[in-house]
């Protein structure tokens, strides 16, 4: 490697503290972007977790209801029977759902209660301990929520004045806002005085029947109900709830990017201006601007690459730590997010390099003679 080519990294490693600070700046910025983004993705995932993991591609609700979470829908038992009769319907899962506030060890804990029939489906999709709630006053608790309140299988809990036995713990049903709690549908009907009623019906189409076709049939056959595609309902839930969180989270991602850019830009710009005299010497002795541009750009690239890589690595570690301490948080780090964060890291460094190159362009070689 020629001396010209090695000048960038020699400049970098000569000032070890500055080098570590530069890489650390990008590492932290990339990590912050990835974590906040992962938290947002996790939040979205948690909102749609129940519908995604429960059979059924069409959600039937009371007319005018477009959401699953946070909406009260009431369908009669006749409606469920009618749905089962419709041509092209393969499977029907009726569920009751309701937001409740649990009183767990003197702490108010919001939860989303699902009443289901274990012989049909609609209950927890992954049991980590115990079994499903089959009959009577049995509940399956989200494992994360149970752990937070030291609830174990066979414990008895008071839910709205009734005693329920915890028969199982479920996985993948946590949310930092509301976790899922499952109980037999019949028990929930009794608890809420909704004998025979259903909140939603999750419908699976027969082979060869499209989701669209099934929705059309349901909407034309049944009066007073609304059949929607599962994805549409999830999107509506996200729109309803995530808008409260995604805007500040996106703002935080934006701020992380801005701060990261400023840190990196400032570090690289300062590193360049501190070497301004040396670049001036090179210009004075006859170096062309290209060499100096390349030197500054390679320095930025090295810092950005190392910072981005370290940032991605650190994100996984920090995410693991967060989810260990606070399992209700789901942090989803997807390849597209990693790519985006690395691009962001490179963009930060490019901006820093841009201002540094601008400084070098303006540098007069005559300045080197000024005392």
């Amino acid at each position: 490697m020629s001396i010209k080519q090695s000048l960038s990294y020699r400049n970098l490693i000569q000032e070890k503290t500055r080098f570590i600070l530069s890489v650390g700046g990008i590492t932290l910025a990339v990590m912050l972007i990835l974590l906040l983004n992962g938290l947002m993705k996790g939040l979205y995932e948690q909102f749609g977790a129940y519908l995604r993991n429960t059979p059924g591609t069409v959600v039937v609700s009371q007319a005018g209801i477009n959401n699953f979470i946070g909406s009260t829908s009431t369908l009669s038992s006749d409606t469920v029977e009618t749905i089962q009769e419709i041509d092209g319907v393969s499977q029907v899962i009726p569920v009751l759902s309701q937001f409740i506030i649990l009183d767990l060890h003197d702490k108010k804990q919001p939860a989303y209660l699902i009443g289901y029939d274990s012989s049909i489906g609609g209950g927890p999709w992954r049991i980590s301990a115990g079994r499903e709630a089959q009959s009577g006053n049995e509940v399956v608790f989200d494992r994360t929520l149970a752990n937070r309140h030291q609830i174990q299988v066979n414990d008895t809990l008071n839910i709205m004045g009734e005693q329920f036995k915890v028969v199982g713990l479920s996985d993948g049903t946590a949310s930092w806002m509301t976790s899922y709690v499952f109980m037999p549908k019949a028990s929930m009907e009794t608890l809420f005085g909704l004998k025979g009623d259903t909140s939603f019906v999750l419908v699976t189409a027969d082979t060869g029947v499209t989701q669209q076709k099934l929705m059309e049939r349901l909407n034309t056959t049944l009066a007073g109900v609304h059949a929607s595609a599962e994805d549409e309902v999830i999107a509506n839930d996200l729109n309803l709830f995530a808008r409260f969180f995604s805007a500040p989270l996106q703002l935080m991602v934006g701020i992380a990017f801005l701060i990261g850019t400023l840190i990196v830009g400032l570090i690289i710009y300062t590193a360049t201006t501190e070497r301004q005299k040396e670049y001036g010497v090179l210009k004075a002795v006859g170096s062309k601007n290209n060499l100096l541009y390349r030197t500054v750009a390679i320095q930025s690239l090295i810092v950005a690459s190392l910072g981005s890589l370290a940032g991605v690595g650190l994100t996984f570690e920090v995410a693991r730590l967060i989810t260990t301490i606070r399992p209700q948080f789901l942090i989803l780090i997807e390849p597209t997010s990693i790519f985006g964060a690395v691009v962001a890291g490179m963009a930060m460094a490019s901006l820093g390099a841009f201002f540094s190159i601008w400084a070098v362009t303006r540098l007069s070689p005559a300045e080197v003679f000024r005392k």
Binding site: S2, R10, E278, P365, F369
Partner: protein
Amino acid sequence: MTDFSLRVEGISKRYGSGDTEVTAVSNISLTVSQGEIVLIMGPSGSGKTTLLLLLGALLKPTQGRISLDGLDLSSLAEKALPDIRLHQLGFVFQDFKLLSALSVLDNVAIVAELAGVNSKVARRKAASLLTELGLAERLNFLPEKLSGGEKQRVAIARALINEPRIILADEPTANLDSKIGLQIMRLLRRIAKEQGRSLIIVSHDQRIKDIADRVLWLEDGRFKDMVTMVTDPVCGMALEHEKATSAVWEGQAYYFCSEGCKHEFLANPVHFQTHQAALSLPSATHQEYPLG
């Protein structure tokens, strides 16, 4: 003179315009021959550095012409000047200005690389040059590990690596003690004379006049003639040597502004010697000053 290296014809450099216009260099002409050593002296703000920048193709004159072996530097496009500086000119700076991240060897070799020399060849050439300058043991040192004299020798090697016709040195002894400063100047003189390179030095340092072929005094952007100034031990007046009246006492020449001062001195020379010591006035001070 046919073998001249550098010719400066009536150059001026003005900064600003209108009421704020400042003339740093005014109508200067100068010819520097091959192998000649020219020392430019003058007070601070006299235009020395501006003149050096003009001679080093780092600034363009507002008017006048600078030519190097017939090539008019002042008419060249800005982008052509780095090549001229790289191949024809060598720079030695007051505070050495070595690249702190590069070793001694690489500080010199990089300038050869800039001129298109292959990296290996550049390093070999630099090593040879540094060895000649007594730095064989310091090739892989970083500049921070060197003494001032060693740093300036590296800077000289850097200035020489592309075999320039002219070396421009800006206060080359300013950051060196007198002994090392003198060594550096002798080294520069030897290089200039042995290798036929012209050397233009800008300095305040009176001690380096001895190595120069020519000393020029720059003041208010113009060259002024040099005269020898002396001090009258009786009245303390500064006088031009040629215009003063003199007397010799105990083998030492004394200069006076008038016959009156001379007679007063000769009537009691010991008194004026004592008095002079008390005033810290040098006896028969010989300093060169510009002719006002």
